[in-house]
């Protein structure tokens, strides 16, 4: 890392003298958006709390529904994804493309784990407890709040994946725009891998819950499992180095703006986790 820092020079990534505010425009835009998102989530959290403080008759006890250990685990995973995102920005500011890619991939994987847990949680709540958006006010506000946060996470993962693929744009553009087509298939492979691996993982979890062994899983979901392995191979092939790339320290502001969004998603969960989950075990006890 130090070698990159030595060649990068004393670039100030926090200030931009060419703008009237002295702040890079992309960063200023992102902070403005995040400030507005504070109001959005503030309203959603308030709505959930109001209905929790005035529960109508027949409201289910969330402590019978929540799996607090699982949610705590996913909270930890999201925190660690924030660390990887910060390290990705740090690496990009030093022009270290290889580390930036690794950290972006790590952030994506951790984000997917969080999202997978949330999908599993929602499916479990619906099937095991009949908690839907229309079954009770608690269901309505809970799914709206945590679902909106989940959509933010999903959009963040999409953005991270696009940035990862963007990092492969070749510096030599004499070959035309062929890299865009390759990037498109790279993205398709990535998306298919995400969908299929989530399906496979959920099938494994549900099989385990139903008391079925690994033999049952492989006999029923072998194709999906094999597909995951094949798609992983495809991703590794797409990530093979093909000469110098048009991605580096100059793109640090793009990665940083994306990082701001990702950290904000983490910050929102830092509020949602105690307010929606932990407080249930205190106030109602």
């Amino acid at each position: 890392m130090s070698s990159h820092a030595a060649t990068a020079g004393p670039t100030d990534h926090h200030h931009d003298a060419s703008t009237s505010t002295g702040i890079p425009n992309k960063k200023l835009f992102m902070w403005g958006f995040l400030a507005s998102d504070c109001m959005f989530f503030g309203a959603l959290i308030a709505t959930h709390l109001i209905y929790r403080l005035h529960p109508p008759v027949g409201t289910p006890d969330p402590r019978d529904i929540f799996a607090i250990e699982l949610t705590s685990g996913s909270t930890f995973v999201l925190l660690m994804s924030s660390l990887l995102m910060a390290l990705a920005v740090n690496a990009c500011q030093q022009g270290n493309v290889a580390t930036t890619r690794k950290m972006l991939l790590g952030t994506i994987v951790f984000g997917l784990i969080f999202l997978g847990v949330q999908v599993y949680e929602f499916i479990h709540f619906v099937h095991a407890y009949g908690l839907t958006t229309s079954s009770s006010l608690f269901g309505s506000t809970f799914y709206t709040l945590t679902g909106t946060h989940g959509v933010h996470v999903a959009l963040g993962i999409l953005w991270l994946a696009l940035m990862y693929i963007r990092s492969f744009k070749p510096r030599d553009d004499s070959a035309g725009q062929g890299w865009i087509l390759r990037g498109f298939f790279h993205f398709l492979t990535f998306t298919a891998m995400v969908v299929l691996s989530l399906y496979t993982l959920l099938a494994l979890v549900h099989g385990y819950e139903a008391g079925n062994g690994l033999a049952y899983f492989f006999s029923n979901h072998f194709l999906a499992f094999f597909g995951c392995i094949a798609l992983l191979g495809g991703l590794i092939w797409f990530a093979k180095p093909r000469g110098p790339v048009d991605f580096g320290e100059a793109n640090a502001i793009d990665v940083e703006s994306m990082g701001l969004y990702w950290h904000f998603v983490d910050v929102v969960w830092i509020v949602i986790f105690p307010v929606v989950y932990l407080l249930e075990y205190v106030v109602l006890s």
Partner: protein, 117 residues
């Protein structure tokens, strides 16, 4: 950490290598606080104390992430002001709604609440 604290006061960001260690140390602290949050819930303490502790720990995590991970510490103060405006309006909306609906005359009525007496 001391290096970064010194440079922050002078408005300069630390070297990227210095930031790397700050980020890793902060992540460890955040993980520990998350564990403490879970512990506190099951401790035999008064409800008001547990709620206060949860709110404090949540606020510490919130500020730590926006200050360090989101680089507010090293960015121009204008960015901090911009975000704080959003936070104050969002938090004020939350607090205001809770107060309005917590008022005695705002207690919901109707068939859904009748059995509560």
């Amino acid at each position: 950490m001391s290096d970064s604290a010194t440079t922050a006061s002078s408005g300069e960001a630390p070297a990227p290598e210095g930031k790397f260690h700050v980020f890793v140390q902060l992540a460890m602290v955040l993980a520990i606080i998350t564990g403490l949050e879970l512990l506190v819930v099951y401790m035999p303490l008064e409800n008001w104390l547990i709620i206060t502790l949860l709110m404090i720990m949540s606020a510490v995590k919130f500020v730590a992430v926006i200050w360090i991970f989101m680089h507010l510490k090293w960015d121009k103060r204008f960015v901090t002001v911009l975000f704080v405006i959003g936070m104050v309006v969002g938090g004020g909306t939350l607090w205001g709604l809770l107060l309005i609906f917590g008022a005695e005359h705002s207690t919901p009525v109707g068939p859904a609440y009748e059995e509560l007496g």
